[in-house]
Every structure is written in structure tokens, then in C-alpha cells.
Symmetry: C2
Subunit: 492 residues, 2 copies
């Protein structure tokens, strides 16, 4: 995942099964005024549906096989940044995997993607105490001149502090933005810190800086910097890179010596011509309403540094495996379950935009969409963005996955970066929020490798997803249409 | 630390203060038959000595300052492999630090050291699924030809399995030795696994292999390979390198595909002419017997990949800080406490050998020697190598540090890699065994950085060491002479 999530207040349900049923209305108060909201007695699963969902859930918990899918993608493809040699390999992997697993209508849909290439890169403190630093260009950064940029370093503790600096003190310098991301169970820590990654270059560039380096947006203490997307805006385009946490510590310690500190930064990054990629799609055809779609999404691309095992191999493994299990039901669920492996989430949501455009005529038949894009952490909350008149169906899902540790959330779900593009069409979202406690130790680093996939946690994910997808695909009602978005979907 | 420790049975005392006094004899049974061994009633501290030792211990626990020493070395010097540009910087740091802290007789003693240089290095699987691997040459490895070595991979699960292979199946291949080190509190896990690092090249070379790669000897799951020393013996000298654990997983997964796997390995490693380095020495002069020496050692060199904050910046910080505190006593302890920052432990014990040679006339006046070289983990056991007739003094030390969680060990202490060179002179050793549970996550990697220093654990170390050094330096008796070594000190 690469989105810049909005922070929003959340009300979390107490962990009691009774409370799940009793308090749905007030829990939803953050999404919409709850006055008069009552459970619709018609929005309950049949006994047979309940039994099927329970059996699907419990079978997944016994061992889902999702780990093997993630391992396969990490091994046979590995890094697959948009436009890179790994990109078409990933598309081929997606097609052969969905076909091998018995999906119907397996096909690709062309997507043009940007092609940014990292090249060789290095950083070193040249004074007062020369030492090499582990560094990674931020995605989209321009490169430095061939000999690099060498300049005095100005350290700041926030973007706000940077903005207050006298431009005369920044001009020609390398700005170091040293913000430590907090470790949180949800994405609050990331959401708070990630604007540094996205915007530091724009802020520093406006003040005339020669380049900018940031402390990695991550929670680990490894010598492995975190890359990720950034935006220049309309200002000067200056080189931008992340230092690993220990290297940020070192630079801070050198600055703490009260001697002038100079840094040399070399980035070989460059933008190449657009390349062709593809969304990969496969379906479990609905037995009664095949034209109505339950979309399960993930993104097939990854950053270049790691294997993309967590981001987003895990998500693809989860949604593919959950859908595959629905394909074993006879008959299939009533609606079509469509798995979409989106191209290029990380570098501008190209796949999601292409999907929204190619399928614009049928978006009103997208009954619900959900995306998995936060590694293998177990889901702990089910948020929604639906018509609350249909909330009874969500309560049915909640009842089934509450025993797996999933509380109910609010009705302000964003759904996932790719799904944000579907918000204007008011496609309803279901959002299984995962435990992100350790996710940002690995996210966007070389350390995003298959050993970080936790098989047991993947089983929990598949169990939650198979229930969600089955209920959404088989219920006689639907989730209505989602509230109209209050703003445009976030630009990448 | 780089030594290859011997595995030996250990008897650990139950954690009860009563047991410390009551069971010393039977605890020592692994070192020497205990029959007839009784406590010598004369080997007890005076009330004044006891009070001083306790005060030293408790003051260190309140905050030792050792962290700042480790941070200073990591920041101002960082990597300092023997012969590298960091080596003389480290010597200069040692001299200025000991002088600034008030040590007497601060001086260097010349040591000639080997000079091995890593150069650029890379590894990539070229078939069946091309991917780049994080790799580090083992210390002392020859380089590859400039274009690298590309060859099919033969995987083995142990050196013994390698030895059983038909040479025809190994000739010209790259051997992959895939042994997972266990995580243990002591050094058992390391001692069991490290022969793979030391000997894989010799074993594979004998069978005609083109090169050898091993799974890193370490316990982490980071994309940061562990380097360390190795030996060729008399056979062919083939390139040898370590893959990080995730990269070893990937190579194993590719081998698991049952398709032929080929690897390309490029190592720019080379041996340069010997260089000059130095042991750095400083003393707290004894107030009554200045010619009798209590040696506190650490090693000043480090591997090239990290800052050497743990290995062995921590050990130097601990022994310097402990000795410095003794220098504040008026009068000083009776004997001289000599801090020795040994040159080049990692690459052949050059500093220790030079010390033993330069000081051979006074080794019989080395009352005891101890070395700190296992990071910042808290000591949990005090082992010895002394004349057991003097064990009453060890019991006094034990009594004082037992409340810090230190049990008594056996009388088979090796003392530390550098001290092994002093064993033939029967210099007595005291050995504070540290908790190594996480140490081998970082050891010999780029991740050995200052943030891995745990200030509170350093305080515990200093508290243990200051007691040990004070008692050794101030008691009227001594530790006799150590048992003669059963074998030559380990060759590096």
C-alpha cells in the first residue's frame, strides 16, 4: 500500500458478541446520524447460508494455502515495480495462477504505467566524521548530477519547522527531515508520518534546497531504507531520498556534534517512457446473477527493493485463495466474485484508473468492493462505506467473523488505495482492517520478503475474506450505494 | 567477537543467594574434581572492601555513561576493519578517550595487521527465476574474476552432507551450505553453526567447487548478510560469501522448484599489504602493587559492514567505564588495572599476539584477565579459569553481583578470543557470560549500529565489571595460576 490515508475518528465495538448485535446503531454514529436506525429483520442469512459461511470460515482456519501463493509470487517474480522487467512477469504469474486455480474469464486488461528506475545510489557524510549511509531514492525522485550533490546539512524535526526556516539558511543545502513514525496497531502512525515522505521535497525545494533526505517512514531499526511515492507539486524538482533509521540516527549524532556536517548524495534515478502493463482479472461466475459483481482487489505491482511478499503479495494471496474456495461451492454463490490484481498501485493507481474507465458501464452493478493491502496481520475491524439501510447484512458478516477477533468499525471506510477510484461511482466498500503493528517494519524495504508472510495469520485473513465474499455474493439484498465522497479521491 | 568457541558442559548454580555460598565446590566439579575442596575462610573481603564494591556496583546501576562511549566510537569512527582507513581513526579515538577520562600511561603499542578489502560485490540467481541476492564476502575470501562466477548451484544441509557428495557432482559448481543457526541465551547456537562459515570454502574447494555461499551465521531475518572470518587450509582458494537469511530462503525456494538453478557471484575482495595498527593501553595505577596487573580487555577493530557498536564498541565502553570508576577511588585499588583495546581481533588476533609478545616478561604478574566482547546483553554467569584454591575470592565477587542476575559457572572459561593467547602463560581468567539472545541478530552485519546499544544493559555490565575489577585489584590474595591449557589456543 502506498496511499496517504486520511485520519478519522473511529468508534470500536467492545469485544462481546452481544454487543455486536446490540450496538450497531450507535457504533455507526460517526458515519451518519444514528437516530431512528434500527435493524432490518429481513437482513439475515438463511440457515443454509449461515452454515455454509461457517464451514467456509472454519475450513480456511484449518490451513488456507494462501502462504504458498505468496511464496510462489515472491519466488517466481519477486520485485515488480511498474514498467520494470518484473512487471510483465507478474502479469504472466497472475494469469497462469488464476487459470491453474480454476477461475473463469481469466484475462488481462491493458494499462499504461509510468516507468521510474532507481539506478545506483549512495550517500555519505563527508564531514565531520566521514561514514557511508544506507539510502534509497523516494519513488519519482529525480536523480542527482553524476558526481552527486555535496552540501552542508540542515536538520529539521518536522515539515512545519522546515517551512519556518529562513530561505537563506536553506538555499543550496541538503535538508534532513527527521521525523520518527510511531508504531500503532492501525495505520494511524503511518498516516501521521507519511506526509514527510510525500511532501518533503516540495517543501525543501520551495526554499531552494539542493536535495532532501528523510528518516525512513517505518518502525524498524534495520539498515534498510524505506522507499515510497512522493510528489513535487509545482516547485523545483530536487533529489529526494530516505535514510534507514540507524543512518538517520548517525546523521543526527553528527549534527549533534555541533560541527558543520556535509553530506554527499548520489542518486541514479530517472524517469523512462511509459510502459505497458495490465490488470489481471479472474472470476467465480455467479450462479444466479452473474452480471452483479463482488470485487475482491489487491495490487500486483511492488516496490523495487524487496520481493513484495507483504506489499501486496499477501493481499493477492488472500483474495485469490478466498475466491478460489467459493469456486468449490456447488452451486456457486449467486453473484460473480471478481478478483482484480491491479497494475501499478504504488506509482499512481494506473491500474485502478484503467479499471474504472474500462468498466464504467458496469460500476453500478458492482455490489461491493474490498481490497487487501496491508500484509498478513490479522483483521481486527470491519469498516464499511455502504447505505446504512443495508447494515443488517454487515452485522451478519460481523457475527460470523467476530470469533476471529474482528470488531465492527465505522461507515467511513476508504476501501484501499485502488478502490478510492471507485468512490465517485458510489461503489459500496467493505474494509477488513488488519493489525499493522509490525507491517511498517518491512513495508517498501528490501526486507519485504517471503519469510515475513505469517502462514497462520494468512489463514485468519482468508477465513474473514471468504465469509465476507460469500455473504456479499449470496445474499438476496445488497449494500445499496455508498455515500457520495466528500472530496475527490486522493491524487497519487 | 569472532572466535570459534568450544562447546563444553556447564553446570549452572540455582538462583539463590544461599546456594552461591553452599554449592561452590560441586559447581566446580566440571573444572576439577571437587573432592576435599572447602572454602578458604581467609578469602573474604574486609568490611570496607565490601562496602566499596557495593557502592561501586550501585552507583553504576544508577547510570554508567557507557552508552555515550559506545555512541562516540560509533559516530566518530564507525567501521574500523584492520588496515582500513577506520583503523588509525579508532586508535586515535582510543588514545584521546582514555586521556580525556584520566587514565595513566596512555600509549599505543605497534601491531602489524593484515589488510583485506571487500570491494564491490553482488549475487543473483540467473535461472530459473532471476532475482538479486543480498551477499557479503566472508573475511579473507579471494575475489572472483572480474565478470564473476556463474555456475549451477548444489545445495547441502551441512558440511557433513557436503563431504559425502560425489566430487563429480560438485566440480565447477557453486555450493550452497544452508544451515540455520539456533537462537540461544549463551553462545551454543553460534558455536554449533559457525564452523560452516569458517570451513565451508575449504570443504567445497577440496571437492572442486567454483565458489561457495552459505546461509548467514546469524539469527535475524533481515536482508543484511553476516560476514566473519574463514580459513582455506591447504586446499584451493575459492570465493566464499554469505547470503542474508531471506536470500538463503529464496535460493532454497528456487532449488525447491526442481528446476536447475544457476547463480552469478561477483566478489571484489582482495588482500592488500600488511598495515600498521596498534593496541591502545591505559591504566589506573595501583596504589600498593602497581606492577601487578588486572587486565580488562576488548577489541578496538570491527568488521567493515557496520559501525561495530556492539562488536566490540560495547565491550570497550564497558571496560573503559568500569576502570574509569576505579580511578575515582582514593586511594586507587592496590593493583594496577590495565585497559587494553586490542587491535585486529576479527582478522587473526594480531593485537593479542603482539601484546603477549611485548609483555611476555610480565605475564606472570598478570593477576587476572577478563575481556568483554558480546555486545550489551546483561551478564548472567561468571565462569573462571583460576587455581581453585583461590575460589573464595570468586565467591566474593559472585556474592556481590548475584543480585544483578549473575550465577556462577565452571572453571573452564576461555576468557575471550584475545585472551586465548595468554592461556599458555597460565594467566587466570574471569569471564562474565552475557545474554546473547539477540546479539547474533546484528553481529558482523551492517546492522551493528549504535541504536542496538541498550543503555540500561550497559549499566548492568559496568556494575558487574566494576565489582570484578575492584575485587581483583584490591584483594590481598590472588587467583593463583590458571590450569595449563589442554591444547594450543585456537588459530584464527
Amino acid at each position: 500500500m502506498s496511499r496517504v490515508p486520511r485520519l478519522r475518528p473511529r468508534t470500536v465495538m467492545p469485544r462481546s458478541a452481544v454487543a455486536v448485535a446490540a450496538c450497531a446503531c450507535c457504533l455507526l454514529a460517526t458515519g451518519r446520524p444514528a437516530s431512528g436506525q434500527v435493524a432490518n429483520p429481513n437482513q439475515v442469512l438463511s440457515a443454509s447460508q449461515s452454515a455454509t459461511a461457517t464451514a467456509l470460515r472454519d475450513a480456511a482456519l484449518k490451513g488456507s494455502g494462501a502462504y504458498n501463493l505468496g511464496k510462489s509470487l515472491a519466488t517466481e517474480v519477486g520485485p515488480r515495480l511498474a514498467g520494470s522487467p518484473g512487471d510483465p512477469l507478474a502479469v504472466a504469474w497472475g494469469v497462469r495462477t488464476l487459470k491453474a486455480l480454476g477461475f473463469a474469464n481469466v484475462h488481462t486488461e491493458k494499462v499504461m504505467v509510468p516507468h521510474w528506475e532507481r539506478g545506483a545510489e549512495s550517500a555519505e557524510v563527508t564531514a565531520p566524521y566521514p561514514q557511508r549511509l544506507a539510502v534509497a531514492a523516494l519513488g519519482g525522485s529525480v536523480g542527482t548530477p553524476e558526481g552527486g550533490v555535496e552540501a552542508p546539512v540542515v536538520g529539521v524535526a518536522s515539515l512545519a519547522a522546515l517551512d519556518k526556516l529562513d530561505p537563506a539558511k536553506v538555499k543550496g543545502k541538503i535538508v534532513f527531515v527527521d521525523v520518527q513514525m510511531r508504531r500503532t496497531r492501525g495505520i494511524e502512525g503511518y498516516a501521521t508520518a507519511v506526509p514527510v515522505r510525500g511532501e518533503a521535497a516540495a517543501h525543501a525545494g520551495r526554499l531552494g534546497a539542493a536535495a532532501v533526505v528523510i528518516r525512513s517512514i517505518g518502525t524498524d531499526d534495520n539498515r534498510l531504507p524505506h522507499t515510497g511515492g512522493m510528489r513535487y507539486g509545482d516547485g523545483p524538482r530536487i533529489p529526494a531520498a530516505a535514510l534507514s533509521a540507524p543512518d538517520a540516527d548517525l546523521l543526527a549524532a553528527e549534527l549533534g556534534s555541533a560541527k558543520p556536517v556535509t553530506l554527499r548524495l548520489k542518486l541514479g534515478a530517472r524517469q523512462l517512457p511509459e510502459a505497458e502493463s495490465a490488470n489481471v482479472i479472474g472470476e467465480i461466475t455467479g450462479s444466479e446473477k452473474p452480471g452483479e459483481i463482488v470485487l475482491l482487489g489487491c495490487h500486483l505491482d511492488s516496490w523495487d527493493l524487496g520481493q513484495g511478499a507483504l506489499d501486496d503479495g499477501a493481499g493477492c494471496a488472500i483474495v485469490i485463495e478466498a475466491a478460489r474456495r467459493l469456486g468449490e461451492l456447488k452451486p456457486h454463490p449467486r453473484r460473480t466474485v471478481r478478483v482484480v490484481l491491479f497494475a501499478n498501485e504504488e506509482f499512481g493507481l494506473s491500474g485502478a484508473r484503467a479499471y474504472a474507465e474500462a468498466h464504467r458501464q458496469e460500476l453500478d452493478r458492482h455490489v461491493v468492493a474490498a481490497e487487501s493491502d496491508l500484509g498478513t496481520g490479522r483483521p481486527w475491524r470491519l469498516a464499511t462505506r455502504i447505505d446504512l439501510a443495508s447494515y443488517g447484512w454487515v452485522r451478519e458478516i460481523s457475527r460470523l467473523i467476530f470469533p476471529l477477533g474482528v470488531a465492527t468499525g465505522d461507515n467511513l471506510a476508504e476501501g484501499g488505495a485502488d478502490l478510492s477510484v471507485l468512490a465517485p461511482a458510489r461503489v459500496p466498500f467493505l474494509e477488513l482492517d488488519q493489525d499493522a503493528t509490525v507491517y511498517f517494519d518491512y513495508h517498501h524495504t528490501a526486507n519485504d520478503t517471503m519469510d515475513k508472510l505469517v502462514p497462520r495469520d494468512l489463514d485468519y485473513n482468508v477465513a474473514d475474506w471468504v465469509v465476507l465474499a460469500y455473504v456479499a455474493a449470496d445474499i438476496p439484498g445488497d449494500f445499496g450505494r455508498a455515500p457520495a465522497p466528500a472530496q475527490e479521491p486522493p491524487k497519487k
